[in-house]
Symmetry: C2
Subunit: 136 residues, 2 copies
């Protein structure tokens, strides 16, 4: 049976807390095409649960150990990634500490919610962050 | 770039209402291996949003036109399907009318919640239905 489905990926909206104070969310600067600012994330591996993929990808791209809160949404518009069709299971999660770029992320930084670089966000990550801010 | 991820599928917990009265949920009898009772569902096609895949699969397997309420969960245990690794985006939805089997479903029937055939449910659909009943 030849089955063809979209790729599955995970993305994370990571809320950073320090001493119980909210400091902002984490965005990365991508090392590979398409270049720009994005939520940290990556492909789910065969044999891996999406929750495990999320923790692994956040660790690889931001060096943070995240705690998952919930699924924010499943984003699956065929045009959301210019390369091919990727379904993103997007998680809301939190962590403490200072993010540091790694793997596919040249940099990983904390952004205050009032300083999100909306015009530089890749994929549908502006929509995802608006959904997050609207409490969806 | 050779990317390998699990397959993506959708499953639906369809609540049936007639004249505003709740009648139960829809389960199907599968036509192909693995044989047994399951939630209606199927693979997402490349180029298709998961919401559109859900409406299409529910129509193909139950002849019902469903309205989506929300995502109940994303089920991704690598062993949930004995054949290969399938990530299921599972939706809560509702419809009216009488289900009728079609496509991969030999039969489609309404089950009262107190008459769910727990021991005959395939995949992780017993867990999904317990999550639904627990209001997750």
């Amino acid at each position: 049976m030849a089955i063809q489905t979209p790729y599955v990926a995970v993305d994370g909206v990571i809320k950073i807390f320090e001493d119980e104070r909210f400091k902002g969310i984490v965005l990365i600067e991508r090392k590979h095409e398409p270049l720009g600012i994005a939520l940290p994330g990556g492909f789910v591996e065969v044999g891996e649960r999406v929750e495990d993929a999320l923790v692994r990808e956040m660790r690889e791209e931001t060096q943070l150990e995240v705690s998952i809160e919930k699924i924010l949404g499943v984003y699956s518009d065929p045009r959301r990634d210019p390369r091919f069709h990727v379904v993103s299971v997007t998680f809301l999660c939190h962590a403490s500490g200072t993010p540091k770029g790694g793997d596919d992320a040249k940099n990983a930084m904390i952004y205050r919610l009032e300083e999100i670089p909306w015009d530089r966000l890749l994929f549908d990550h502006a929509q995802i962050l608006r959904d997050f801010l609207l409490g969806k």
